[in-house]
């Protein structure tokens, strides 16, 4: 008998008064003891809802289960075991199961700990809740042991730290420690590493695997990343629109996918995308034909302390960067969060005022110009953003968003001509002409990103900063956007600065790569060199941490 077996589970969510969404629509799966089951799918496929159904954390008012069973082999703490259906379990029993036998960790480490309690207390609380007879000192000892287990250094001393004193990775470790403090039989991990940097992700994944070996628990692991699946899973289930379209042993599914949806998803992973033939710009640019020449660029943010807000130190977001961006190349800027890559991108196009240094566009100095003086240069350098939700003004029709910059820069004779041009650019972005007359909320994330790119392209710039434009997108949509970018580049003489943390995307897309760490450039060169044969220790570590799909 499997530890958890879900039989024909239906989870419906009520939207409005009558409408119902079948978030989970007839799922069957089994998780054996000590096994990791990876549920993988794109956003909105119902994988999180499925996990929340297991532990019964969905609000009762809006969710209902017209059919199905979630059978859990409940090894009771007071001895004996019984097979229970968590869907019909009484609240009292459910509370005993939650935390003690089924534990859960969430995606967002920043918000899943209570900020006003210190981390030790939170672990102790979890222990004493399920083992009320544990004494305070014993619970504390257990908590410290649990923290040791998740490799928090100097656990006894950090016991009374508050969540804000820990980094994202450490918080996720504490979450894991809390979840494991009661030695559950099943751990549900809902995208536990999605919000973390690759190096931290690698550590957490290794930790989870080690702990699983020690304790022998089962894991229901939810993710959208096939790289992570390849690292973690014994069994994989691929979800699409509330249904599992394919499941099986991890190797079978990843190496030899049967269902066409799985095939499509796997083909969209940047590592599997067909690498385009090396692109040679039509106009052969000389080697020293640089769009941007950046010398000793600094962006420092002051840290003020004391009563008089005296500047005591600086955060050096960008610290003495020298960089030449060759015309017609795609330059990737990679690094972990907080390394200053976004700030550098914005400082180059003068969205962020540099503290000192020089940025030359075609030999013309940009640093020190006033906003008015910058206007003629703005047309030549554009930016596209990460978050599809906030990159378009929700109150303006797409047409207004697109033609307003054209009007300012005097592109097109009259409004009709501008609208015509906007429509053309939209069509280039594989959108429809009548999308011009819609508002942003009517589009999906991928469509919004295309419109964001269109807004940059209507001014026919020479240079575009793409700031993590695919990070918030599903893999299949990401693949489409990446291919689109390459196509545009083929048509126009365009230089791209592609800021990302995703190494696979870098390898697929870019000609040159720059690796940043703590505001400084660590390594730069041709992508094939940097990614294929990294020289610096940091680059090597970064590349090793990337969860690879090839088994």
């Amino acid at each position: 008998m499997a530890l958890l077996s879900i039989e024909n589970l239906q989870t419906h969510l009520r939207v409005g008064k009558k409408e119902i969404i079948k978030a989970v629509d007839g799922i069957n799966l089994e998780i054996n003891k000590g096994e990791t089951y990876c549920l993988v799918g794109e956003s909105g496929s119902g994988k999180s809802i499925c996990a929340l159904s297991v532990i019964q954390l969905l609000p009762t008012g809006i969710s209902l289960h017209p059919e199905g069973k979630i059978l859990f082999d409940w090894a009771k703490k007071e001895g004996g075991s019984a097979i229970v259906d968590t869907l019909t379990l009484e609240d009292d029993d459910l509370r005993k199961v939650r935390g003690a036998s089924i534990a859960m960790i969430f995606q967002e480490p920043m918000t899943s700990l209570n900020p006003v309690l210190n981390i030790g207390e939170q672990i102790v609380e979890a222990i004493q809740l399920h083992h009320p007879d544990t004494s305070d000192s014993a619970a504390k000892a257990q908590a410290i042991e649990a923290m040791d287990q998740v490799q928090i250094k100097d656990a006894a001393r950090r016991f009374s730290d508050f969540p804000h004193q820990l980094s994202g990775g450490q918080r996720q470790r504490i979450m894991i420690a809390m979840a494991l403090a009661c030695k559950p039989d099943l751990l549900i991990a809902d995208e536990p590493t999605t919000a973390l940097d690759v190096t931290v992700q690698a550590e957490i994944l290794t930790l989870m695997k080690d702990l699983q070996k020690d304790i022998g628990m089962s894991i229901l692991f939810i993710t959208h990343d096939f790289g992570v699946v390849a690292q973690m899973a014994h069994t994989v289930g691929v979800m699409k629109q509330g249904k599992i379209v394919e499941q099986g042993k991890m190797r079978d599914v990843l190496m030899n996918p049967q269902h066409e949806y799985t095939q499509k998803l796997l083909a969209s992973v940047p590592e599997n995308l067909e690498k385009p033939a090396k692109f040679i710009p039509e106009k052969n640019h000389a080697d020293d034909d640089n769009v941007f020449e950046i010398k000793d660029l600094n962006v420092w943010f002051p840290i003020r302390t004391g009563v008089f807000r005296k500047v005591s130190d600086h955060i050096r977001a960008v610290d003495g960067v020298d960089l030449n961006i060759k015309r017609g190349t795609i330059l990737s800027l990679v690094g972990e969060s907080g390394c200053g890559k976004t700030t550098l991108g914005r400082a180059i196009i003068q969205l962020q005022e540099p503290t000192s240094g020089s940025v030359k566009l075609d030999g013309e100095e940009l640093v020190g110009l006033s906003n008015k003086e910058l206007v003629p240069y703005r047309k030549r350098m554009q930016i596209a953003f990460q978050d599809p939700q906030s990159s378009l003004n929700p109150r303006l029709q797409i047409v207004t968003t697109l033609i307003e910059p054209m009007t300012v820069h005097g592109i097109g004779e009259n409004k009709e001509e501008r609208i015509e041009r906007a429509a053309k650019v939209l069509e280039e972005m594989q959108l429809k002409r009548d999308h011009l007359w819609r508002y942003p909320h009517e589009f999906s994330g991928g469509q919004k990103q295309r419109i964001g790119l269109a807004r940059a392209l209507v001014l026919s710039p020479e240079f575009i900063v793409c700031d993590e434009i695919t990070s918030a997108l599903d893999v299949s949509v990401q693949a489409e956007i990446l291919q689109l970018l390459l196509e545009i580049r083929k048509k126009q003489d365009l230089t791209l600065l592609f800021i990302t943390h995703n190494i696979a995307v870098v390898e697929y897309l870019s000609d040159e790569t720059v690796v940043m760490k703590a505001g400084k450039i660590v390594e730069q060169g041709l992508t094939t060199d940097v990614c294929g044969n990294p020289q610096q220790a940091y680059t090597q570590k970064l590349l090793e941490a990337v969860p690879r799909l090839n088994l």
């Binding site: 008012g61 196009i349 003629p376 990159s391």
Partner: protein, 398 residues
């Protein structure tokens, strides 16, 4: 898909944010009741000369038909009527336009009306109401049509032998639905005419406060740094001014002018709006679409008023409806203290009258008190519903 569903989708596509919020706001019962009351109030205010007037609406004198009440229209009557017509015109014209454009059109047309009305409307300075009743009684007209309440607000019934302070519906030659006040004027007529003060004070005071608040708050939020610092200090200075004492002083110096009071309430109550606007601008200026607007080299005017303001206006709209309610309360308080306008009727002033009389006359307290309560309640209901519509996370409905 049925036709109706397609229609709905089409509708969704073309509707902007304001109409969406309006739809959601007035979906519930509370806001509907609030809106109904405000509409009733507006109709009363606009048509008060038609509803409560001693001067007959239509008379026939030796076969010649005339409308004598038109001659006695004062500036206020003209402004209210034309305002109503402009509003209807803007709402009913089939041309699609944004909320902000219609609003701007309304403000501009109203300003013109106010100026024109002040120059050209010259009603007779003295009205002897008793004359009209006398003429009618003597049979000078062939026939005449009177207003439903045949008493003007300032008609003190000098020709009547009834004692003042009569109870509602007391038996008399002149029936009064809500009784009379201490000078003998009809309470219901005064109630109807006073709805104008309640309506205008809300809009003028809040309008002034809103404009100042948005400009100062917006500049503070967008530029931050030293501008923000200075702006905040200015704001704190204004917040520390006790409004009631300021009003007392102004009334002492400049006399009891209701419009002056509105302006002062407006000039001193913008700090809340400025704080809201500042917070929104601080948050929104780092939004990516604002960054994109800057990166496209758009002029500051467009960035502030096209890309930031419409997105930050939502919490302001909520506080506006509460602001209107509190402005009405402020005016009522002043009038209650006996500092309101002397002659023009106002609800707060009527409450004051009820207090001053030697006996407690319930009809002098209940009607104006009830009206103030209903009006403030109505605006609060609308504000509450609007907050839920704008920010679904605060909604009580899950």
């Amino acid at each position: 898909m049925t036709n109706k569903k397609i229609e709905m989708l089409e509708h969704k596509r073309s509707s902007g944010f304001v109409s969406k919020v309006a739809r959601e706001t007035f979906a519930g019962w509370g806001a509907k009741i609030g809106l109904l009351w405000v509409v009733i109030l507006t109709i009363l205010a606009v048509f008060s000369p038609f509803l409560a007037n001693t001067v007959p609406l239509l008379v026939s004198k030796q076969g010649e038909i005339s409308a004598p009440f038109l001659r006695y229209f004062n500036v206020e009557d003209v402004i209210f009527l034309s305002g109503f017509i402009i509003l209807l015109f803007i709402i009913l014209t089939p041309i699609k336009k944004s909320f902000f454009k219609s609003f701007a059109t309304f403000v501009v047309l109203m300003t013109i009306t106010v100026i024109v009305a002040n120059i050209f409307v010259k009603p007779p300075a003295l009205i002897i109401y008793d004359d009209f009743r006398l003429k009618q009684n003597q049979g000078e007209y062939d026939w005449s049509v009177n207003a439903p309440i045949p008493y003007s607000a300032r008609d003190y019934m000098r020709d009547s032998t009834d004692t003042p302070l009569r109870e509602p519906l007391a038996k008399s030659d002149f029936p009064h639905y809500m009784g009379t006040e201490e000078n003998g004027a009809d309470v219901m007529s005064r109630m109807i005419h006073a709805s104008r003060v309640a309506l205008t004070i809300g809009f003028i005071a809040t309008g002034i406060a809103l404009v100042i608040g948005i400009i100062i708050g917006g500049l503070m939020g967008y530029f931050s740094g030293i501008v923000d610092m200075l702006g905040m200090r200015l704001l704190e200075m204004f917040e520390s001014v006790p409004v009631l004492f300021l009003l007392l002083t102004f009334v002492a110096f400049f006399g009891r002018n209701i419009y002056l009071i509105m302006i002062i309430i407006g000039l001193t109550s913008w700090s809340g709006y400025a704080r809201y606007t500042r917070a929104e601008f601080l948050k929104l200026r780092k939004q990516e679409y604002v960054q994109a607007a800057i990166a496209s080299g758009l002029p500051l005017r467009s960035i502030l008023f096209r890309h930031i303001l419409p997105n930050g206006i939502a919490p302001l709209l909520v506080s506006v409806s509460f602001g209107v309610a509190s402005a009405i309360m402020a005016e009522a308080t002043l009038s209650f203290l006996g500092l309101g306008s002397v002659d023009a009727p106002s609800w707060g002033g009527m409450l004051n009258q009820s207090l001053k009389a030697s006996t407690f006359n319930w009809w002098m307290a209940v009607y104006p008190g009830g009206a103030i309560f209903m009006t403030v309640f109505a605006y609060n209901l609308i504000g509450e519903a609007m907050r839920d519509a704008i920010d679904p996370t605060t909604s009580k409905r899950s």
